[in-house]
């Protein structure tokens, strides 16, 4: 048995300058990681260094700076390919984030592949970005959404899922880890069902990417999307991975510079992958920052991160169970440290304001998952979400903060 060195959280926290500040006179308790993650110094430094000493546009210049920037951008792409096990860097398309990645597939693949009566299979726990892009293309093409139901525990109803496949199912678009419930979905099982029927699968990896290793070959999916800013990287950069054969056959998503081969007013031919999908000037510094973020995460060990986060989520659930009137949304068996809850007699927004006064950052609202909130019969919820830089004391602070919210609001 391999003994893993446990995660040194004190050392990790020193890598994140944000933890040097206080919020409303209190140490920062950052529990909004499902929304966005904080940045390690190496990411911040990488962007700064690029702008200070290496900045130029990519792919265009004959001069050294542009050549260096191009090489750094290409290295970031190769790093992303390695990070998720892509067969080639050509399968990595840099986008603004998960939302743009799904929109790209819905618009480009969807417009070409969906027709009247066709079906797109999604789940009841999708983020709005896994619903709306498909709705838009379905409306345009006369196709329809089918929805895998969610159980009371906050898991996918696999039996129902199987029954929802039909000869008209053209694609499955599924959230890998729920941003609202923390559920780790049995995506392998859904992929197996889809493969038997020759249906491609897109996985929304926005939440999964920061909690464990992702290997697209092992998952067996056809598209994978994630955002840099949820992986300790910059905002405005993300990745769409797709199998080369699929991406190759898809028409461009946006037209413009960088994505063309030749342009005349009669006919334009397009650049090869991945440039076909990267119209206009790309987010170079973002890609470099994302490279640094992936390096940072890889410098820690996934088993150590997973083991540590498991202890954190157990601590959080135990502390929450001690607070009177806490009602959790779902109780998934396989989960990451994302927990949504309601507090009897206290609206999530009011709880959020009280927690903020204690320096505790959480999300209050519908978490861009209104259909899921409706499924659980709540208009809104409090969501606390962990990362490997959180401490057991953060979990305790959340519980005391909620008690204070009860005290203030119930009067």
């Amino acid at each position: 048995m391999k003994i893993e060195t446990p995660l040194d959280v004190a050392r990790v926290r020193r890598d994140f300058p944000i933890f040097g500040r206080t919020v409303r006179g209190k140490p920062l308790v950052y529990l909004d990681n499902a929304n966005s993650t904080q940045k390690p110094r190496s990411v911040i430094e990488t962007e700064r260094r690029f702008y200070e000493t290496g900045y130029a546009n990519v792919h265009r210049g004959v001069y050294l700076l542009s050549q260096e920037a191009t090489e750094a951008y290409d290295r970031a792409r190769a790093r992303a390919a390695r990070f998720i096990g892509a067969a080639s860097p050509n399968e990595i398309v840099f986008v603004r984030g998960t939302t743009e990645a799904i929109n790209l597939v819905a618009a480009s693949w969807g417009r070409r592949s969906l027709g009247p009566g066709d079906e797109v299979l999604v789940s009841g726990m999708e983020h709005h970005s896994g619903i709306v892009p498909w709705q838009l293309v379905c409306e345009e093409r006369g196709a329809a959404l089918r929805v895998i139901p969610v159980t009371d525990d906050g898991e996918l109803d696999l039996e129902a899922a199987e029954g929802l496949f039909s000869p008209r199912t053209r694609i499955v678009s599924l959230i890998h880890v729920s941003n609202a419930l923390g559920t780790v979905n049995p995506v392998e099982a859904i992929v197996a069902l889809a493969r038997e029927r020759g249906v491609p699968v897109l996985l929304d990896g926005a939440q999964a990417i920061s909690h464990g290793p992702v290997d697209v070959q092992a998952l067996g999916c056809d598209f994978y999307a994630f955002s840099g800013h949820k992986l300790f990287g910059p905002t405005g950069i993300g990745v769409l991975w797709g199998r080369e054969s699929l991406l190759d056959a898809m028409p461009p998503y946006q037209g413009g510079g960088n994505m063309i081969h030749t342009v005349t007013f009669e006919k334009t031919t397009f650049a090869p992958l991945p440039f076909k999908f990267e119209a206009g000037t790309v987010h170079i510094a973002g890609a470099l920052g994302l490279h640094a973020a992936m390096d940072y995460v890889s410098s820690l060990s996934w088993p150590a991160i997973e083991a540590y986060e498991r202890t954190l989520v157990e601590r959080m659930l135990a502390r929450l169970a001690e607070v009177e009137g806490v009602r959790l949304l779902g109780a998934p068996r396989r989960r990451v440290g994302v927990v949504s809850l309601n507090l009897d007699g206290v609206h999530p927004h009011d709880a959020g304001t009280v927690l903020d006064s204690e320096g505790i950052a959480i999300r209050a609202g519908h978490h861009c998952a209104q259909p899921l909130m409706a499924r659980f019969g709540v208009p809104a919820a409090i969501r606390a979400s962990l990362s490997f830089y959180n401490t057991p004391e953060d979990c305790d602070a959340l519980a005391s903060g909620l008690r204070k919210a009860i005290e203030v609001l119930r009067g």
Binding site: H347, P348, H349, D350, T353, V354, S357, A364, G365, H366, Q370, M373, P379, A380, V408, L409, G411
Partner: protein, 150 residues
């Protein structure tokens, strides 16, 4: 804590726990629906407008303590008032919440509504307090009867 106490004053907590004028009344001449898509707060304001007067006003919906108390206190302060006064109070309330935090509550006809001064310290919560009032304005604007400016 003192800022929190300023925000969640007794009268606000009281109205949030026991909202007044809650539920659709019999006679309704105008109504409007308001919604904050960011947080999911939603409410409907019902008006019975006759002869330039807000004969009855009530509301239905759900939201946080601030929006619930704001809706409840709004209906209390407007029942029986002239439509003109209702519009004027809307302006005053808006001014109360958008004034710089260091300014005291503005004078004028706000009365008890001045308890919402504390919301100014919490800019992200201002929309909670103003949602019922924006909805009121929509309901007033929808009123088919001509609005007198005299």
């Amino acid at each position: 804590m003192s800022e929190l106490r300023e925000l969640y004053q007794e009268v606000i907590l009281d109205h949030s726990k026991r909202p007044r004028n809650f539920g659709k009344p019999e006679a309704v001449t105008s109504e409007a629906h308001g919604r904050n898509p960011l947080c999911g707060d939603t409410l409907t304001v019902f008006l019975d407008l006759r002869d330039g007067t807000i004969r009855d006003i009530a509301w239905e919906g759900h939201g946080c303590a601030i929006s619930t108390a704001s809706a409840s206190m709004m209906t209390e302060s407007l029942k029986g008032k002239s439509i003109e006064d209702g519009r004027s109070l809307y302006e005053w309330f808006h001014r109360l919440l958008t004034a710089p935090p260091d300014l005291g509550p503005p004078a004028g006809p706000l009365g008890k509504l001045a308890v919402f001064t504390g919301v100014r310290e919490f800019p992200v919560r201002v929309k909670c307090a103003t949602l019922p009032w924006h909805t009121l304005k929509a309901a007033l604007d929808r009123d088919p009867a001509p609005v007198t400016t005299e």
